[in-house]
Amino acid sequence: MDNKNIPRTEPIQSATFTNPINAEIRRAAATGIYDIRGGGAKRRVPHFDDLLFLGASVSRYPLEGYREKCETKVTLGTRFAKKPIELDIPVTIAGMSFGALSGPAKEALGRGASAAGTSTTTGDGGMTPEERGHSSKLVYQYLPSRYGMNPDDLRKADAIEIVVGQGAKPGGGGMLLGQKISDRVAEMRCLPKGIDQRSACRHPDWTGPDDLEIKILELREITDWQVPIYVKVGGTRPYYDTALAVKAGADVVVLDGMQGGTAATQDVFIEHVGLPTLACIRPAVQALQDLGVHREVQLVISGGIRTGADVAKALALGADAVAIGTAALIALGDNDPKWESEYQKLGTTTGAYDDWHEGQDPAGITTQDPELMQRLDPVDAGRRLRNYLKVMTLEAQTIARACGHNHLHNLEPEDLCALTMEAAAMARVPLAGTDWYPGKAGF
């Protein structure tokens, strides 16, 4: 047979050595350093999309969409604080630092959240006057680095969030690269301008839950037991972390899954450490229930919350509220297609831009460059965030009414089913069309 006529095999791309993997191998070989980026896990993991609401039926009757009330208020910090935080909606803004974000971006977050009746959260680097001024309710993060920490700001806060970890990098610290260290950022962090600022991975003056209990006591004594104290953990061992936070005296537990974003961390850390958000909720709720404090110690869930459906599903699984970070930045203007030509120049594209640590954000959000920062109008961006928060709330209410509930907190696991075995196991709700989920007793 003529060689030219021999049938050829199709070129087959490896499912193991994919083009992105191969590109990363080549990049690593060329540079000798791991890839650092912002954002959360991009890999596909079981998520809220794998759950559906069942809606009303013969046994459940719905509420009229435009007539019957469906309440959305939530109170956080009812356990010990003299002044719990009362929010109009159960969607809060997660901690993001001035430094990682520009001043106008922080202002926009405050404007949008305040207009929607919810809280914002500081981040590594301390509290800025603009942020305090534009946030009607501000949660002050107490982080391992203690950059900018001081008792005066502590007393200005409406709540304190002790950050043990975050979903993007549970067990890891942070690094704010020198190009984002402006004079003001450097001054707030008490470090020279232009150097890389490391954020420690664990607190400098306590280790373990017994110490944490004493640390919480100290913070309460300094703030006259006025404000709630949250404990934020990354999604790793949600049952035990929640139980230990409760034992240590937390008013609120914030649980952040691996889709939760970060300003800058190694890609290998983001993609390979921690649990999907969906897998965190039921164990945490179980811990609260076992300790008899579900709804007394509130649970805030974050990591990949995008829509009102996600909000409703998180609440149905037992959370009291959710927090958004990446979604809030997108609402402000992050990764907007109007900057596509500039994303191209940076070697990326709309929707994929994640080099937030490099300070070259075309949208002017994750930067300290004065020219880029001016691109973000904090009033307009704040309005967009408010609109987005309102839409999320309306969407969650729509679903809750369809399930027959007059408060978002009345959503329950029985309102849900799962589309996949994995989601059924993690959320502990039945696989669609069955009354079974993996691990359920009696099967």
Binding site: P151, L191, D205, I214, E218
Partner: protein, 227 residues
Amino acid sequence: MQTYDLEANGLRGLNSALQELNGSTNKTSWEIVNPKGSHAIAVGLNSPVDVTIKGSTGYYCAGMNQQATVTVKGSVGPGVAENMMSGTVVVEGDASQYAGATGQGGLLVIKGNASSRCGISMKGIDIVVHGNIGHMCAFMGQAGNLVVLGDAGDALGDSCYEARFFVRGSVKSLGADCVEKEMRPEHIEILKDLLARAGADAKPEEFKRYGSARQLYNFDVDNAQAY
């Protein structure tokens, strides 16, 4: 002199009373009896008053102090004067871990020994230890001065930034990027002042100065073996 029996009257009452004081108060001198190792004694103070604690304390004594002078007639548990902003804290005995952690100002004097991680992440505080200090002291120290009349343990000043360390005795080992530095006249003056304010009987010339080599300030993969 105001005397407060901590065992009889409780922690909240004490801190509440001390935190309510302002610059015009006549209650400028306080004595706390029966501390019995309690935690968070005299935290969050913000007025120029003198507080003497007669006995040993637990965690975070004088935490986040501003303006006040707090004297402990005993030893202290972990985190004494943590995140202190200003004022003076004097410990007549020994101090456990993390003494002066993240402190941003003021003077912490420990007349005995200090355990590990003394001055961790210090941000401007001055610390004078009359005795020895343990391992990993001033880890990631950013600013301020740590003076040790005795010896220092392993990994002094690991990954430090601009904080200065003065040690009279031996240093078991220096941490990553911490090096011995020249003692210039301005450092002698700084040290002289600190020793005087801390009531320490030592000569500045007897000390060696240590600080950051500034080689790890910007990430370089070739430095990865340093960690």
